[in-house]
């Protein structure tokens, strides 16, 4: 029941709730909200069967702004609550929203388990590499050396990669998007929605107040072309001006390297063709770091049956319900006259 044909075609604005949006002016969350509302409209989702579940954080305010059902829960626990929602009603379209702190600091475990169980949730992690709501402490995705109120001397611990973590957890759909890419982002969200089972999407989101420009080196207009590779299944991993660069396996190793594409085209240059069902390739792509380009798009998609469908079954509860009176009388009983 992931695709509905609503009686009348709703527009993006029909998915905006009546609540005043309260993020900082210029926050990347606005763009994601816009992208989401467009996605909902494009997919023709029904507001009444769509649910947004979130934890706590700036990102987690998201549900208030969608004219669907919404549950703003507690810090880190959204994947667990959403799992319960799906167990009770697999027909609902459930989106889970959280920040890097929410999903990878306090909530990393629930994220892992939702992914490995393959609960049919669309999990969107807004990664701004900082704790926004609590005023700018470093997060588990902050780069080493991040100066923040809790790390005045710069942070020391190595960050975790959201996508490598998801892959290591056994996710079957792992993708990436950028807040401001209003063409690509909805496409990625639609793929996440189409995937039955847990879909994990990391969205690079700019926190203009506490971590402005964290992703500028690959999201800024000038940098994007050279520093981003948008991956598409069955298409060569090319990027750069006029697509003249590509990624290939460094000969004799398990590493990716950039190769210039000559006139004979990508294949001749040994450029890899993206195979989104290849977990190792996805792992390589997820691990790309500057000076290599950052991989955006659907890194991995290899469906398996979703958890709640196996638990509950494809159909509604069994038509003939168990007879409790009979159950109580099963086994040894005796009569007192």
């Amino acid at each position: 029941m992931n695709v509905h044909t609503p009686p009348e075609q709703l527009k993006p604005k029909d998915f905006a709730s009546d609540q005043e949006v309260r993020w900082c002016p210029g926050c990347g969350d606005y763009a994601i909200l816009k992208g989401m509302q467009k996605t909902c409209a494009d997919l023709g989702l029904k507001p009444e069967t769509t649910v947004f579940v979130s934890g706590i954080g700036c990102a987690a305010r998201f549900p208030y702004y969608m004219a669907t059902y919404g549950f703003h829960t507690i810090h880190g626990r959204a994947p667990a609550i959403a799992t319960g929602v799906k167990l009770a009603n697999p027909e609902l379209d459930v989106w889970v929203i959280g920040g890097d702190g929410d999903m990878l600091s306090i909530g990393g475990n629930h994220l892992m388990h939702a992914l490995r169980r393959n609960v049919d949730l669309n999990i969107l992690l807004f990664n701004n590499e900082i704790y926004g709501l609590t005023k700018g402490q470093y997060s588990p995705t902050s780069r080493v050396g991040t100066r923040s109120p809790s790390t005045p001397g710069g942070s020391l611990d190595a960050p975790v990669s959201a996508t490598l973590y998801a892959l290591g957890s056994g996710a079957r759909f792992v993708a990436r998007g950028v807040d401001t890419q209003q063409k690509q982002l909805p496409e990625v969200l639609k793929r996440a929605h189409a995937h039955r089972g847990a879909s994990f999407v990391e969205i690079f989101q700019n926190c203009i107040v506490y971590n402005d420009g964290a992703f500028a080196h690959f999201t800024e207009r000038e940098a994007a072309q050279e520093m981003q590779v948008f991956v598409e299944h069955g298409r060569p991993l090319v990027f750069g001006k006029e697509g003249r660069k590509g990624l290939r396996l460094k000969p004799g190793s398990l590493k990716l390297e950039v190769v210039e594409i000559g006139d004979e085209g990508p294949e001749a240059a040994g450029v890899l063709v993206h195979d989104e069902t290849d977990r190792m390739l996805a792992t390589l792509l997820a691990g790309l770091q500057p000076p290599l380009p950052v991989a955006i798009g659907v890194l991995y998609c290899d469906p398996a049956e979703s958890y709640e469908r196996q638990v509950v079954g494809e159909t509604a509860p069994p038509p003939v319900e168990g007879d409790l009176d009979a159950l109580l009388r099963r086994g040894h009983t005796w009569t007192v006259e």
Partner: protein
């Protein structure tokens, strides 16, 4: 013991008797106990049983910490507890004797398998000398039988290995005890035949051992003081009965509650002793509209249950103390968003990991007051295995009617103990079907029922009711985020009033025994019901002016409780904790309740309560 033998005297009639089977974990004591229970129930006795497992999964054979025991108290009168002290102890090895001896009544019977009383086993049980010979058992009547040898002989010809043959020892012992109490062997024979249907040689060998034990009693010349007994049938109300443990009754009660509410159940839990059994029981009831979910931890379990309630199922979560502690933050969310939720706490010894396999009642404070913020919820406690059924239904009723989490307190004793239960019918209970809100016109997610103050339940999937909820303070009607000071006061008040109002919807507090006023009321809650009830009965029989009041509703308290308790000169509150209900009662009523605390991982003995009550009456 001197071996002077006499003729078996005629059966002595007993009002009740307490028997404990104790042996190594591998000796099959739990099976032996259940078979004896069944035979006893069929003989028409009232009874109560309590198994006592070792904490270790499978401790080395012969060690004291590997001893497994099963106790049964049965009689012709109403049985309230598994019994203070033993009339008969069956000890299959030295370790079993060592661990259990202290509970035997002076002068009572100790039956030992002398074949297992070897030097090797003495060492394992850390006995310096043979306890059968060092005079340490002089206070008891001891019957030594080499059951090992007798069993081996009995099963000869059934083609069993020595190891397999010795596994029939428990049936030999059971046969002997059956003879002693005049029990019918047939149900056990039937059970053995069906259990070992695929291995008839095992079935037959066990039956042979059972018969041999029985025959030994009938034919052997027994030592002085070993008698046979008859325990008359109890006068139980007519009806169809079964034996039930607290866990089974709880599982079925939750199913019954959901049926009465017309809701599916989503049961989310994480294993923990002694709560896991409930998960196991419900995992087999999928066809009863039950979904079970083993979550990654207790927080996830509570959260998934909340998510399920949000989506229109009844979310139930279950754990024991440490796991309930982890659910605290999530419970606050359920209170704040006002969703129904049933939280079962099978209490065990604390603090921290404490004594996982031992019983305690020390999570009352946590249940009533253990959350951040002003966060009221309803708290119920079950008093006996069968009462778990009733309390589970009540928990579902309150959770759905008041859109609130309900904490249901049970404990390690109740979880494992069993008693005969007159099987009810679902039609004996009034249904309380939930009606989800569906009307978009004027819809406000926090609109409240004027009487119950419960908010509407509008589940995702309902057209036209799209709304947002969350744990931040909400506007009184719309549920939108509100930082308004007056609104916060109003919401805090209404959350408290809603729960307080439950007092109007529950029965007045009754009196279990005695008058509604007088010199002393013993006020209990939970699984202390059995021993308090018996102790009060005993003392009343002696003419003492003492009544018994037992609470099911811990929060809110019944409306008439203060007035009721006010009618007594003294109030004594026995608890298996360091004094929790007693503080709650003092705070709520300002009555001078005195506590009686026992924190040893073991239920109260009747005698302990009698002593305390006497002291209070005299004091």
């Amino acid at each position: 013991m001197e071996g002077a033998s006499v003729l078996t005297p005629p059966r002595q009639e007993l009002e009740s008797a307490v028997v404990r089977f104790a042996g190594d974990s591998g000796d099959g004591m739990q099976l032996t106990g259940s078979q004896f229970t069944l035979a006893t129930a069929l003989a028409g006795n009232d009874l109560a049983t309590f198994p006592d497992f070792p904490a270790e999964i499978r401790a080395p054979v012969g060690t004291t910490y590997g001893v497994s025991a099963f106790q049964i108290n049965f009689g012709g009168r109403t049985i309230r507890t598994a019994g203070d002290a033993l009339d008969v102890l069956v000890a299959m090895n030295p370790a079993a004797l060592k661990v259990n001896r202290a509970d035997v009544k002076p002068g009572a019977l100790v039956i030992v398998d002398s074949g297992a009383f070897t030097a090797k086993n003495f060492a394992k049980a850390h006995y310096q000398a043979n306890p059968l010979e060092d005079g340490s058992l002089d206070a008891y009547r001891v019957m030594e039988v080499d059951m090992s040898a007798a069993t081996e002989k009995a099963v000869e010809g059934h083609g069993l290995s020595k190891k397999e043959a010795l596994r029939c020892k428990n049936m030999w012992a059971l046969g002997l005890v059956y003879w002693m109490f005049g029990r019918d062997r047939q149900p056990t024979v039937d059970w053995l035949e069906s259990k070992f249907a695929a291995k008839p040689e095992i079935a037959n060998a066990n039956i042979a051992a059972l018969n041999a034990g029985h025959a030994y009693g009938e034919t052997a010349e027994l030592p002085t003081g070993v008698r046979t007994y008859s325990v008359p049938a109890a006068k139980l109300p007519a009806g169809l009965y079964r034996n039930v443990t607290g866990t089974e009754a709880l599982a079925w009660g939750l199913v019954a509650g959901c049926k009465l509410a017309r809701l599916p159940m989503t049961f989310c839990s994480y294993p923990i002793t002694p709560a896991s059994q409930l998960l196991h029981s419900l995992a087999g009831l999928k066809s009863f509209n039950v979904t079970t979910f083993q979550a990654e931890d207790e927080i996830a379990a509570a959260c998934a249950a909340i998510g399920a309630s949000y989506a229109g199922s009844l979310g139930v979560t279950s754990s024991s103390g440490p796991g309930i502690a982890l659910k605290t933050e999530a419970l606050g969310l359920a209170i704040s968003v006002e969703l129904p939720l049933v939280v079962v706490n099978s209490q065990r010894g604390g603090p921290s990991t404490g004594l996982p396999t031992k019983t305690e009642q020390s999570d009352l404070f946590q249940a009533v007051w253990g959350r951040n913020g002003d966060a009221p919820l309803a708290v119920l406690a079950a008093r006996s295995p069968q009462d778990c059924f009733e309390v589970a239904i009540e928990a579902v009723r309150l959770a759905t009617r008041y859109m609130t989490p309900v904490m249901l307190l049970t404990d390690g004793y109740l979880a494992n103990a069993s008693e005969p239960w007159r099987i009810p019918s679902l039609s004996d209970y009034e249904a309380f079907p939930v009606s989800f809100h569906e009307e978009p016109e004027g819809f406000q997610p926090f609109a409240r029922d004027a009487e119950t103050l419960a908010r509407v339940w509008a589940k995702p999937g309902t057209p036209g009711l799209m709304h947002r909820i969350g744990g931040i303070e909400k506007d009184y009607d719309s549920g939108n985020i509100s930082y308004d000071p007056a609104n916060h006061q109003r919401m805090t008040d209404v959350r408290a009033d809603k729960i307080a109002g439950i007092a109007r919807d529950i029965p007045e507090q009754g009196i279990e025994q005695g008058e509604a006023g007088g010199r002393l009321a013993v006020v209990g809650w939970g699984s202390t019901y059995g021993p308090i009830s018996r102790a009060v009965a005993n003392l009343r029989a002696e003419g003492a002016d003492v009544s018994h009041v037992h609470l099911r509703h811990i929060w809110p308290l019944p409306a008439n409780l203060e007035a009721l308790l006010g009618g007594f000169d003294k109030l004594l509150v026995p608890e298996m904790n360091h004094g929790q209900l007693v503080k709650l009662l003092r705070a709520e009523t300002l009555l001078p309740c005195a506590g009686l605390s026992k924190v040893s991982g073991k239920p109260f003995k009747i005698a302990e309560l009698e002593t305390a009550i006497r002291a209070t009456l005299e004091g």
